[in-house]
């Protein structure tokens, strides 16, 4: 398994997809940090309606914003495995290691870790902007930081597993990316419907760092009113279900 993980690392870091996605993530998070934290202070007249963010809530807000970039683990998984499934690489890989569960596990570990590393770096980057540019004083406790990075890891595992499952289901990168995008947007919208919102992956991912204020937008935001502990259980169940889908589709069907 150690060598299989090394093989996945070579593939991840020698291809441009991961680097490109990290750059896009950095751009999105950087823009958000600039407009939310710095812009109201630099140009208060132009930032009409945007109140300066304060510490220590700004750290939590930033983490929430970054963790909400669930497209990152989803698209990363779809792109990395999807390109292999679209050609003959997956079949060739199975002629070298026939145990498909090992392949699924190696990919889940490496892609979740890589996604978590990028998200963690983005959280740290946002936090630096908050530390430098936000008003007020105060820091988060160690426990809160552990919770932030732990939640980020759980979310990466769930969304990477979902990406692997979608590739296994559609067996090609194009349809799998289409399905991933449809899921990303569609599930968030469906989550506005409260009965589904309670089990929505998007909503519960949002609620992991603390219950989304049920009063904002009349409680219509995904995850509104869901306690963090319950959200962790739901996201964990999504991770297990998505992993089962990935394993079943990749293990039971001929490449």
């Amino acid at each position: 398994m150690k060598l299989l993980i090394q093989a996945e690392l070579v593939k991840l870091f020698r291809r441009k997809a991961y680097l490109l996605m990290v750059v896009i993530l950095a751009g999105l998070v950087g823009m958000t940090a600039f407009f939310v934290v710095l812009f109201p202070r630099i140009a208060p007249d132009l930032a009409e309606g945007l109140s300066p963010i304060s510490k220590p809530d700004g750290y939590l807000f930033g983490a929430q914003q970054v963790i909400g970039q669930t497209w990152f683990p989803l698209i990363l998984a779809v792109m990395m495995l999807g390109t292999e499934m679209s050609g003959t690489f997956w079949a060739t890989t199975l002629t070298r290691e026939a145990r498909r569960l090992r392949h699924v596990t190696a990919r889940l570990l490496v892609l979740s870790a890589a996604s978590w590393a990028a998200i963690a770096a983005a959280i740290i980057g946002f936090s630096v902007v908050v530390a430098v540019g936000a008003v007020g004083e105060g820091v988060l406790s160690g426990t809160q930081w552990v919770r932030i990075f732990g939640s980020a890891l759980l979310i990466q595992v769930a969304w990477v597993a979902l990406g692997l499952g979608l590739v296994g289901l559609f067996r090609s990168i194009g349809p799998a990316i289409g399905a991933a995008l449809a899921f990303s947007f569609g599930e968030a919208l469906l989550g506005l419907w409260r009965p589904y919102g309670n089990v929505s992956l998007t909503g519960n991912s949002s609620a992991l760092l603390g219950a989304v204020d049920p009063d904002v937008f009349g409680g219509m935001l995904p995850g509104a009113g869901i306690p963090a502990e319950r959200a962790a259980v739901v996201v964990g169940m999504w991770a297990v279900a998505a992993l089962a889908l990935a394993w079943w589709t990749l293990a039971r069907r001929d490449p």
């Binding site: 060598l3 299989l4 093989a7 020698r14 003959t88 079949a91 060739t92 290691e97 026939a98």
Partner: protein, 301 residues
Amino acid sequence: MGEGGGVTAAVVARDLRKTYGKTVALDDLSFEIPAGSLTGFLGPNGAGKTTTFRALLGLTRVDAGHAEVLGMAVDSELARIVKKVGAIVDEPGLLRPLTGRQNLVVAAHTLGFGHERIDELAEFVELTDDLDRLVAGYSKGMRQRLALAAALLGSPELLLLDEPLDGLDPAGQQTFKRRLRQLVDEEGRTVVISSHNLNDVQALADHIVVVAKGSLRFQGRLSELLDGGGAMRVTVEQPETAAEQLRSAGFTVSESDGVLLVSTDDGRLVSKTLAEAGLYPSALVPAAQSLETVFLELTST
């Protein structure tokens, strides 16, 4: 390993059956591949060659039948089998954004090996100078040779190569063929190449399996296939008299352009029969057929 007619077999397939909807890809296909041979796995397009290779590698689950590779059952010992078999199935599965070396590193790690043999194998397939270039810039021949190097990483006892010479230029084909023969003759490995290019197989293989419409049409040594099926070609003065003499002795004889084709593999008997009539052949040779002729006969029905 399986035993077939006293010959140790690297591959034993028994009654393999695979259907895709109403299409029968493998129709109770049975064959054996002798260990230590270079076997040509021949068949027209759609004959079931690739499906057979995929079945032997566990990439396609057969509906019925049983296969053993290197003495291990495919359906229960696949994880062990793939560690001893090098394969190229369909197009070589390479990652184009990676260099040749990085592809070999990925392949070696997936097999459970380190980097140790990469340079040696790059030299073997004559890719040393291009190993650190991106595979996206490789020619088809270079990709095939890289795939062969990847297939050899685990020092496999058996190589299953699906159309390995397809699309290679003559120089690339020469290199590839030379390396394949070397693997069999000098290292004692078993190599199976599927192909519909008969000239390649005739020049390379010493054992032949012919399939058509998913079923076996011939298996055996190439020389057995091409020896005319027990016919002698006789060149003699007065061919009509000679034909009559041979027919009266019980031979089946046909004549073409003054040359007789006699249905026997016993040249001495033909010679004796003609000599008794005072006829002496100027040439009496086994009626070797071209592989193409035999192949078309075998696969036409």
